[in-house]
């Protein structure tokens, strides 16, 4: 393969923690293979490069863009559109881009509530003048703009057309390498697919499972789990039943319940509803009040539990905004 | 538009249902008579409760409200616990008493006067006051009977069972405010 024919790779980071960027490096020495196989044209985190360089590229001239992070601001939306336009293959890389992840849990609040917390209420904040970011600032030189902060975080797929999804918070090195080699070799799954295994974490979990009947759900600090038995059967809210496999059941291996970072199985529309239905199904009671009690006591934060990674990509996508924060029409 | 299936029933029946918590069960009365049979005063009633329910269905408002039935009721609740249709019969008797008093139809009994005297005492003092109650009630309603009651009153008094002065609660104003508000809102259920 001649130097000139090397496919072009871009990596971008929107609303996410940066773990995804690190995970790319975590493929270890294989990164050299990546560098050998690709011409990295844009990677703000690791390589110098400017947005206007990308803007100047011809549409479709980037072969693959690994895009991590959700879309929380107008700038991120702009970049998503830009990368879409410039790339042949756009990959929603990791949980944030695919399903919103932890930043997406911000959808349980409005922008105002988030600003209140960050700029006023949080104990670590020292802001006696109550300064808030302003979208527009008039300066002698002219008007300065900050990107607009959205009320609702969107996933990449809700913003632009996405070719493939790579699950995980962050994606596992193995799976990244698998995706990269698939793209290089041109052996790609159908468009829109999630690259990974098509079964759930239980498949990779070695714990002993029997038929489930649960009288009370437990939080991790409430019990010392038995190392052999299925964590869910011990009452822990283990999301392994609904979470796409591929991680090797890392968390359950160390006595910690799966929290669902790999998202739902192929074809499933709403991860949280799979957890809800799975857990509700095995509640061992036929008394409505008792059922209510088991759920209310055992699952005090259902959205945080069932949609920790996927609220933004769920059917409901966010909490209902208060009536007065409905979109203002100018 | 929405049309709810309107409940068909006499105007009086609807009135009773509206005025009695759980009163809607009355439509299930099957005239078995276990109420009238159970009543300690059933033998003295003009109409047994079962009869009253039939009259209510027939919209015989006047007949019911001028009858002595509800005034025979001593709130023993036998009819209520035995009613095979779980009709809150005693509560319906209260509702009938209220309607009869409100419309001045309670002619066959001194019960309204007793009730009024009693509740006045409670409104003034926050507690009932038997001597006041007895003297006012008998004075205004049964002056002759009062003489008859004398020895008993005395017996009670000498055994320390009757006070000369009422006990008044501290926050009688609060109680009166609650009662005022209740009168203003009016009615029940």
């Amino acid at each position: 393969m001649s130097q000139a024919a090397k496919p072009k790779l871009a990596i971008y980071w929107a609303a996410s923690c940066g773990g995804c960027e690190i995970s790319i490096l975590a493929i270890n020495e294989k990164i050299l293979d990546v560098a050998a196989a690709f011409d990295i044209v844009f990677w703000p985190c690791a390589a110098d490069g400017k947005v206007h360089d990308v803007e100047k590229m011809a549409d479709g001239s980037i072969d693959v863009c690994l895009f991590n992070g959700g879309i929380r601001t107008s700038e991120q939306e702009y970049m998503a559109q830009l990368m879409r336009r410039k790339s042949k293959v756009l990959v929603a890389f990791g949980s944030c881009a695919s399903e919103g992840c932890i930043p997406g849990l911000g959808n349980m609040n409005t922008r105002e509530e988030i600003f209140d917390e960050v700029y006023t209420k949080s104990p670590a904040t020292e802001n006696p003048q109550g300064i808030r970011p302003q979208q527009e600032t008039n300066m002698p030189e002219g008007k300065l703009h900050l990107p607009m902060f959205y009320d609702t975080l969107k996933t990449l797929g809700q913003t632009v057309d996405v070719d493939y999804y790579l699950p995980g918070c962050p994606p596992e090195a193995d799976n990244i390498w698998k995706a990269v080699t698939a793209i290089v070799s041109g052996q790609l799954p159908p468009k829109g697919a999630t690259i990974g295994v098509n079964t759930t974490v239980c498949d990779e979990c070695s714990r002993k499972r029997t038929e489930k009947k649960i009288k009370a759900f437990k939080r991790t600090w409430e019990i010392l789990p038995d190392a052999e038995t299925c964590l869910l059967e011990q009452g822990l809210l283990c999301c392994g039943i609904a979470t796409r496999a591929g991680c090797g059941a890392l968390c359950p291996q160390v006595n910690s319940p799966c929290i669902g970072c790999h998202g739902a199985n192929e074809g499933v529309e709403d991860f949280g509803s799979r957890m809800m239905t799975g857990l509700a199904s095995v509640i061992d009671s036929q008394d409505h009040e008792e059922i209510d009690r088991i759920i209310a006591q055992g699952i005090p934060d259902p959205i945080g539990t069932f949609y920790r990674f996927s609220l933004a990509s769920s059917l409901m996508r966010r909490k209902k905004k208060p009536a007065d924060s409905a979109p203002a029409s100018h | 538009m929405v049309t709810t299936h309107a409940f068909k029933g006499s105007a009086f029946l609807k009135e009773i249902i509206a005025d009695t918590p759980g009163g809607e069960r009355i439509v299930h009365c099957m005239q078995c008579g276990s109420c009238g049979g159970s009543c300690p005063n059933g033998a003295d009633m003009q109409y047994t409760p079962r009869g009253v329910f039939a009259l209510i269905n027939a919209n015989e408002r006047e007949k019911v409200l001028t009858s002595n039935t509800m005034w025979c009721c001593v709130s023993c609740y036998f009819c209520t616990t035995r009613c095979p249709q779980q009709i809150p019969i005693t509560e319906i008797m209260y509702a009938l008493k209220r309607l009869a008093i409100a419309e001045g139809l309670a002619r066959q009994t001194d019960a309204p006067a007793l009730a009024k005297t009693f509740t006045d005492m409670v409104e003034w003092f926050g507690r009932s006051f038997e001597l006041g109650l007895a003297s006012r009630y008998y004075l205004f309603n049964k002056p002759l009977a009062m003489l008859k009651m004398g020895p008993l009153g005395l017996a009670m008094f000498t055994r320390g069972r009757m006070a000369l002065l009422p006990t008044k609660i501290r926050q009688v104003g609060q109680l009166q405010a609650i009662i005022r508000k209740a009168r203003e809102l009016g009615g029940a259920s």
């Binding site: - | 005025d19 918590p21 759980g22 300690p40 005063n41 005034w71 025979c72 001593v74 709130s75 023993c76 609740y77 036998f78 209520t80 616990t81 035995r82 809150p88 005693t90 209260y94 509702a95 008493k97 209220r98 008093i101 009994t109 001194d110 019960a111 309204p112 007793l114 009730a115 009693f118 509740t119 409670v122 926050g126 507690r127 009932s128 038997e130 017996a155 009670m156 055994r159 320390g160 069972r161 009757m162 006070a163 006990t167 609660i169 501290r170 926050q171 609060q174 109680l175 405010a177 609650i178 009662i179 005022r180 508000k181 209740a182 009168r183 809102l185 009016g186 009615g187 029940a188 259920s189």
Partner: protein
Amino acid sequence: MKYAYYPGCSLERNSAAYDVSVRQVADLLGIKLVELDDWNCCGATEFFSQDELVATSVIARNLALVDSQLNQLVAPCAACYLNLSKTDRLMAEHPHMNDKVNQCLAAGGLNYKPGSVRVRHILDVIYTDIGETAIRDKVVRPLTNLRIAPYYGCQVVRPDVAFDNPEYPMKMDELFQWVGAEVVDYPVKAHCCSGHMTQISEPQAYELIRRLLASAAEYKADMILCMCPMCQLNLDAYQAATNKYFGTNYKIPIIFFTQLLGVAFGLDTKKLGFGKEIVAAEPVLQSKLGANAAV
């Protein structure tokens, strides 16, 4: 065991014997009763005859006054017990009523959430919360030879069956078997004493009183035990009038069950309020229990 205590108007004066005996027996059994501060009359049956909302609001004021630390309210008087528990139930079952009652309470700066106070009768507390073993342990003066007719009346057992059978209650029967009395199983123990009929229609009232006295006499009961001030008053104070009306000659002492329980526990009869009844009970105690009767 700590409970809020609602004596009710009758226990303040005309049935003070009930009040003093309840307090002493409770004390002895380790039941701590904290009298509800500034309670008001429950309205008996009379408010309900006039205005339901006034009735329930007046009652609800008491429920609202219960200290949030105490979630149980003990009422010895049958009418008070019924009214308090009925109001709580009505508010719980009929949200509209709950709304209205709370609006009224708000006028007095109060509020009450239905279900937050459990209304208990003193018999229930003694029977259920203390129980057989503890009660048998406390007996110092077994009531051997004394034939008693437990009389339940209406409003403790009906309509809201709380702790006993509404048709044929047994808890007081059992309680007095524990303390050694001969309990008479007579058929009218939950029948009506005539309630306020003594005030408005004597002939009707006397007939109901006669039925109770007759049945107790037929079963050769030495005394009738009440758990309601109205029952006690009607059977005791109107016994002579009833005798006169029917030409009978019943002379059955009518006392509160807690008074006799106190006797079994060795408490002083005078302090238990004996002597306040019209048909004297002490001679019967003397003759049946002998010298043991009085301390």
